[in-house]
Amino acid sequence: MTAFRKIASLAALAISALAVAGGARAEDKPTAITIATEGAYAPWNFTGADGKAEGMEIDLANDLCSRMKVKCTIVIQDWGGLIPGLTAGKFDVIMASMFITDKRLQVINFSRPYAIDPSTFAVAKTSPLAKSDLSGKYNLNDEAAAQPVIDKMKPLVKGEIVGVQAATTNQQFLKKYFDGVIDIREYKTTQEHDLDLAAGRVDALFAQSTALAATLSKPGFSAYTIAGPQFLGGVFGRGTGAGMRKSDTALLAMFNDAIGDAIADGTIKTLSMKWLKADVTPPQ
């Protein structure tokens, strides 16, 4: 072998040795796990000035970890990279207000839901949807009841530019039911579509009602309001759960137990009232 090839193979071996030395992570009944959150979705999870994650899900994560007697580290990861990052082993759990859907269940596992929060539109106070009297919660699993309401909404939002976060069930909902009626603009984070709503680049937003309520309570959004019916189920799945790799069955059982306890003793209700100003406890 020439000198170059010798050096190249030595280097490859050295790098792999370093990688192994970097450490493998524990499996089965872990004592320390890493939880990833988006860090840009107030009030569920957001990043404070010191770079640390804060919000309802962070408090809930710490609570669940103390119940499970596990040491938790919380890291921040962009929304689009959460599932690929989980499957690549960068962290062990996702708690980022991610809905449990069949599509995601093909790739990862979810714990039982720890929150149910319907999604809805935020529009200008002068828009036709705000002036109509359409309201109520509709479960998309019952399409017979939901479809007429959606059809009534279509003329009220026709032609508007609606901002939505990319790769979310919100975006899938708009694509499935309102494609062609509205101009869908996809953003990497909800903070970015909030900025564009304030700037007037989009006419409306479609997101979870608690997140919209938090956004609209800030200065600069006085011209906008939440309007129209709220939707859950169907394309929105079964609520918000913690995402885990399919192979981590022991961890899944631990989370399910802990979440069950948190629902039973009212912790979820307390935390959600504190952060979201609404009770998002799922039915037991």
Partner: protein, 242 residues
């Protein structure tokens, strides 16, 4: 190696290619015109104008393109009332035009430097000869200085074109659906980040390869005087072997 998935992904990604090419071509074209104007102005402008141009060039060459895109898109979006009164809001409202503005200003700053280097490399003797022939300044520029300067600048400018094509991938971060934007959409459906990004990379690589080859051909065509003549040509000119 899931060939069907890769093939499907490539076809999906190519739907973003027209926008990539459109962004790159428009910004390079407009940027070239602006860079040429700035480069020529730098030669013979009053000090204040020269300093402002230099300031603009330093600012846009010294900060990352990503910061410039964010500043123009989100930063200026904060000033919507002012822009509305100026009648400019229709322009800044569209992500496409914000991206074009950011890319154009960026490439014009680099282009101005490249063209300045090209103009300085024109041998002074040529300019003297042009004046001696009695050419008015603008004709001298048109017939003598610019052809030499631009040919000199071509390799560096070719590099800049390739950098711009790569730069369009950043516009995915402000909602534009060019190749990288489409790639992120596909990943959000399939969660297969590595394969999709690898396909996207392959498309950019092919584009840049084609551009590099075309530029090499253009340089070759523009510099016959620098090539060593081969024997057959010399013999033909001489009228055949005696």
């Amino acid at each position: 190696m899931d060939i069907t998935f890769l093939a499907d992904t490539l076809v999906e990604l190519l739907k973003g290619a027209p926008l990539t090419l459109e962004l790159a071509a428009t910004s390079v074209g407009l940027g070239f015109v602006l860079a040429l104007a700035l480069g020529l102005t730098l030669q013979s402008a009053p000090a204040a104008l020269r300093w402002s141009i230099r300031g603009y060039v330093t600012m846009f060459r010294g900060t990352p393109l990503l910061v410039q895109i964010f500043l123009i898109y989100y930063g200026l979006g904060q000033f919507r009332p002012t822009l509305e009164t100026l009648g400019l809001w229709g322009f800044f409202r569209q992500p496409y035009w914000c991206a074009i503005l950011a890319l154009t200003l960026n490439t014009a700053a680099y282009g101005a430097e490249i063209i300045r280097g090209g103009l300085q490399s024109v041998p002074y003797g040529q300019i003297e000869a042009a004046r001696a022939c009695g050419m008015p300044p603008w004709t001298a520029y048109r017939l003598v200085v610019l052809p030499i300067a631009l040919r000199q600048a071509l390799p560096s400018y070719g590099n800049e074109i390739i950098l711009m094509i790569k730069g369009t991938s950043l516009t995915s971060i402000v909602t534009l659906l060019e190749i990288t934007g489409v790639a992120q959409q596909i990943i959000s459906q399939t969660y297969r980040a590595v394969e999709v990004f690898a396909c996207a990379g392959a498309i950019y690589l092919s584009m840049n390869y084609l551009v590099a080859q075309s530029l090499a051909a253009l340089e070759h065509w523009l510099s016959p005087h620098l090539r060593t003549p081969n024997i057959e040509d010399a013999v033909a000119i001489e009228g055949g072997l005696h």
